[in-house]
């Protein structure tokens, strides 16, 4: 330890910089060379340790890192950055082996990305206890440390974090792209091999890991809080955590996956049908959301077609269509999903010695998880699935299989007709009363309901002008515009950048929504909040059109917790404009993070009215609809 410390202190600024560096962890985890090395050549302790800790920790379980610390770290880092001759330092760090730490490191890794072997010689406890009087440096590093790592050793390696050499990070950064890629490749191969061998051992190991990891934040916190906390305490905690953790999992039906929770992600990956490559350089704030490199999954999935025996072809097809973006829009996705389920139910036969209710529910669940892999579910789809599962669960036991199937199919048709198609019509009928001659209506993006409203109002002979506001990268508004112009409506087309200029001429804003949450927040295509706020500032009424089946009882205050990340390439490249190539070659740069959000949340203050199948209601009444609607028609 001591030698190490001294080294650190010497290169103070650099060290700090390294340690704080938080932004691009996922990439590191993927490309991490040291991990790989570990299994192969365990004995070279110092470098591995360094590398392991920082990268794996960061990338795998960023959750555990108290965010506040993070930020401060970043600031510090930036402040210090000027001075850092990082390169030299990092290299030196690599070569230098620090005995005590090494042991820890070596222990931590097993071949697969996900699987950690439990071979660790638990040297850590000592480390921590003995730890040098915490300099600010050390504390910093502690903060950053990912608890998952420490725990993976199977032992009580929690303390390891503290020691984690700040320099490790720099090391990582230094590895060239090619190197990383090679590593990745190797890792993959190793993983495959491990799988083939018999996943038992690995899975067992991973199980241990995961169970230990599940409660990582706590452990991490405690460790960071008391630097000298004994290993014993840590291990105890782990043991205690395990059992309740399991219970909790059972209780909570579908906690949304937090993609920065490493262990869960890995588990999920194992189950996954679609192999998705995780995108690199994810934005810090959004790391809990899944982001994949687009376009990588399709060929893989196609080749797998015949291996996926439980997957019904119709579901498979819909999944592929989600993946490729052929089907989009809340209603379209929901209907397509239900049609596919209908097919699947039609072809379903209960396996011997199983009951339809249970088996079919499980089957549907597996379909759903497949669809989720293709693209995260929208809230409306979640509601629809809830409806279907509820219907399945409520089937009378006495029903024969064919009867049960036909009831279910009828239910599905009913849902599509009543909750989607009919309610659209009702919404149109309501909304048209708010359009008067001489109005200038503004809409954003392409909402099928808004389109129906505009066309219907036009057919009624109302004279109005439409402003279609659009935004990159999807440019969905053009599709809407095309259909409107064809029907002879007078339209203006502009991008969201100009919305504040055009807003003063507008008399009504019509918006679609992906969902409306029970605090009145409207969850919709990204950019909607911006339009609504501008409209509010100009005192233009904002009317949100949303079918009641898309209402959700959840409350959301920001667009960070739940969202979807789109393809970052879509914003880094401009289609058809070859000369705009400033980002070429920069996309994989560590210090560049591209954020392509799909949804945002509009606070209810900016919404004047929500038009739904139950009439026109203020956003404060959404909970009433959610309540009544459930009681009357759906689940429960």
């Amino acid at each position: 330890m001591d030698p190490r410390r001294t080294a650190r202190t010497v290169s103070d600024p650099k060290v700090r910089q390294v340690g704080f560096f938080t932004p691009a962890p996922p990439e590191r985890s993927i490309s991490d060379p040291p991990r790989f090395q570990d299994p192969i050549q365990p004995p070279s302790p110092s470098p591995t340790q360094v590398n392991d800790h920082s990268p794996s920790g960061n990338s795998l379980s960023p959750v555990m890192i108290p965010p506040a610390h993070h930020h401060s770290d970043n600031f510090l880092r930036t402040a210090l950055q000027v001075t850092s001759p990082t390169k030299a330092f990092s290299y030196s760090a690599k070569t230098v082996t620090i005995p005590p730490e090494n042991e820890d490191v070596a222990s931590s890794f097993s071949p697969g990305r996900k699987v950690f072997s439990a071979k660790s010689p638990s040297s850590f406890p000592g480390v921590k206890a003995s730890s040098v009087p915490a300099s600010e440096l050390t504390t910093v590093s502690v903060v950053n440390l990912p608890p998952g790592i420490s725990e993976k050793a199977g032992g009580a390696s929690v303390e390891v974090q503290n020691d984690r050499p700040v320099s490790a990070k720099t090391l990582k950064e230094k590895t060239s792209k090619a190197e990383r890629r090679a590593l990745q490749e190797a890792q993959r191969a190793a993983k495959a091999a491990a799988k083939a061998e018999g996943t038992k051992a690995s899975s067992a190991a991973s199980k241990v890991v995961t169970s230990a990891n599940t409660k990582p934040s706590k452990a991490a916190k405690s460790s960071s809080q008391k630097n000298d906390g004994s290993q014993v305490a840590a291990s105890e905690k782990k043991g205690g955590d395990r059992a309740p953790e399991k219970d909790r999992k059972k209780d909570a039906p579908h906690p949304r996956m937090q993609y920065d929770d490493k262990s869960r992600v890995e588990k999920a990956k194992k189950r996954a049908v679609v192999k998705q490559t995780e995108a690199r350089n994810r934005v810090e704030l959004f790391r809990h959301l899944p982001q994949y490199e687009h376009g990588t999954q399709l060929p893989d999935l196609e080749t797998k077609f015949f291996e996926l025996d439980p997957m019904h072809p119709a579901v498979y097809k819909v999944g592929l269509q989600y993946l490729s973006g052929d089907i989009r829009g809340g209603n379209a996705r929901c209907i397509a999903m239900f049609q596919a389920f209908k097919e699947a139910i039609k072809d379903y036969s209960t396996p011997p010695e199983k009951t339809l209710i249970r088996d079919l529910t499980a089957r549907i669940s597996s379909y759903v998880s497949f669809l989720i892999e293709c693209r995260p579910l929208s809230i409306s789809m979640g509601n629809a699935i809830k409806f279907l599962k509820n219907r399945i669960a409520k089937l009378p036991l006495a029903l024969s299989e064919s009867e049960a199937k036909s009831t279910l199919m009828l239910d599905i048709d009913l849902f599509i007709n009543e909750k989607i198609i009919l309610s659209e019509k009702v919404i149109v009928k309501h909304a048209v009363t708010k359009i008067q001659d001489g109005d200038v209506l503004l809409t954003y993006g392409a909402s099928s309901v808004v389109e129906m409203i505009l066309l219907h109002a036009h057919e009624l002979g109302k004279h109005f002008h439409v402003v279609v506001v659009d935004s990159r990268p999807k440019l969905e508004g053009q599709l809407l515009l095309r259909r409107l112009v064809r029907k002879g409506l007078s339209c203006t087309y502009t991008h969201v950048n100009a919305v504040s200029c055009i807003m003063q001429d507008v008399t009504r804003v019509f918006l679609g929504a992906s969902s409306v949450l029970s605090n009145g927040t409207v969850y919709s295509r990204v950019g909607t909040a911006c339009v609504a706020m501008v409209a509010h500032a100009f005192r233009v009424p904002v009317l949100v059109c949303c079918e009641a089946y898309k209402f959700h009882e959840r409350v959301q205050l920001d667009s960070i917790c739940f969202n979807e990340l789109g393809n970052p390439d879509a914003i880094s490249k401009v289609q058809g404009r070859e000369e705009i190539n400033y980002l070429d070659g920069l996309v994989n740069q560590e210090n560049l993070q591209l954020l392509n959000l799909i949804y945002d949340a509009t606070p209810s203050d900016y919404v004047s009215m929500i038009i739904t199948d139950y009439g026109m209601i203020p956003p404060t009444s959404v909970p009433v609809i959610v309540r009544e609607y459930r009681r009357d028609h759906l689940w429960s």
Binding site: I420, K425, S448, Y614, G615, P618, I625, E628
Partner: protein, 405 residues
């Protein structure tokens, strides 16, 4: 595209075929739909509702100023001419209706309604329900379904006769709801069901009086000793509230606004009879006096789905002033005034016009804003006193949803 149903075509056909119950907005906005010339008030640019209101509440006792008396005379004249219009209304309606029988009923309904409406103490909604009860009485229908259809026609013609009266619409809707939703009716024989409906209609008048009592009781907590209350126009509920407060020996002072239709004069007169200190303001003095006001108290012509209210012209600006000076704004309204409307802004209502007397001839080139009412959005209201309890504006919509869905 298969999920994008070809609903427009269907909708359009339905819309053309379905001549019943156009919502008031579309009725006025769209270029005359098929039914536009049916039982519409011929003097449609003048709101019957606000005319009657003025006629009832602008009446001032003989000990009042001569000027006020002149006003009374003028208004009662107006009322008289309005009566003639009513006589004319059926003729206009006769031309339009395809269904002779139905329009025949409609006439009687409107006449019935007007005769009820002439009683100042009777709320408009109650008058509407009494008129509908009369329809039931005279009906020759032999089945419940027939009766329902007949009632529906009658209430539609009532509603379209005066689209500006929200409580009329709400009253009709409420009664129709009762007729169509009450399951008890299904198991009785037709005649007893009929008499039950009539009984119910009779009861409704009492309910409306009872509602006022409830509101008066509920609102006592909000009137404290030594407070200054600003009221606008004439509202029976507000009068009841203040009367009760005075009976409870509370000491308070009332400021009444005198314009635009002089109903404030009558109101101040009523209060003076109760020995409540009262001061008369012109509407333009509201901001000037607002800092001595503790409570602003309004009645309402209608409470709309957003939780806002539609009330006599001038309400909105008083609410704005009160809001900017952080004074609480309370609204006293019976629950039968809740209506399934949702105006987005001031212009998003069917216009209710009422001639305004400036006392001097106005040059023909000068336009006069004659709208009789305005819409106060919910964010400027603090609480609503209703017979369902003391509610915040956002609860209104909840109640409406539960009532109508």
């Amino acid at each position: 595209m298969w999920w994008r149903s070809a609903s427009f075509i269907l909708d359009r056909q339905q819309h053309q075929n379905r001549t019943v119950a156009p919502s008031p907005e579309s009725f006025l906005l769209s270029s005359p739909p098929p039914m536009a010339d049916s039982p519409l008030n011929p003097k449609s640019n003048i709101s019957a509702y606000y005319q009657t209101r003025a006629a009832h509440h602008a009446v001032v006792t003989s000990d009042w100023l001569a000027q006020a008396q002149a006003a009374v005379g003028r208004h009662s004249d107006d009322d008289g001419s309005l009566g003639d219009d009513k006589g004319a209304a059926p003729i206009g309606g006769g031309g339009g209706g395809g269904e002779e029988e139905g329009s025949g009923k409609a006439f009687s309904v409107i006449d019935e309604f007007n005769s009820w409406r002439k009683q100042p103490a009777l709320a408009e909604a109650v008058a509407a329900i009494r008129a509908l009860a009369a329809v039931i009485r005279t009906s020759e229908a032999t089945t419940m379904m027939e009766l329902e259809i007949e009632l529906k026609k009658a209430s539609d013609s009532l509603k379209s006769w005066d689209t500006t009266s929200i409580s009329l619409t709400a009253g009709c809707d409420l009664f129709m709801l009762y007729v169509t939703r009450t399951s008890a009716l299904e198991y009785e024989d037709f005649n007893s069901a009929k008499s039950r409906l009539i009984e119910r209609a009779e009861k409704f008048g009492e309910i409306s009086c009872k509602a006022r009592r409830i509101i008066a009781m509920l609102s006592q907590d909000f009137i404290f000793d030594g407070c200054t209350i600003l009221v606008h126009g004439f509202s029976r509920v507000v009068l009841e509230v203040l009367k009760t407060a005075a009976e409870n020996k509370k000491h308070f002072r009332v400021l009444c606004t005198g314009r635009p239709d002089r109903t404030g004069l009558r109101f101040s007169n009523e209060l003076a009879k109760l020995d409540v200190p009262v001061k008369l303001l012109i509407d333009s003095a509201v901001a000037y006096t607002m800092d001595e006001v503790d409570v602003v108290l309004f009645g309402a012509d209608g409470v709309v789905e957003s939780g806002g209210i539609i009330n006599m012209m001038g309400t909105f600006q008083i609410a704005l002033v009160a809001h900017s000076m952080n004074k609480p704004v309370y609204v006293a309204a019976e629950s039968y005034k809740f209506a399934r409307h949702y105006p987005l802004d001031q212009k998003d209502m069917s216009p209710a016009r009422r001639p305004i007397d400036f006392g001097v001839p106005i040059p023909s080139k000068v336009e006069v804003e004659t709208s009789a009412r305005d819409y106060t959005p919910p964010q400027y209201l603090t609480l609503l006193f209703t017979d369902l309890g003391v509610l915040t504006p956002s609860v209104i919509s909840d109640e409406l949803i539960q009532l109508y869905l």
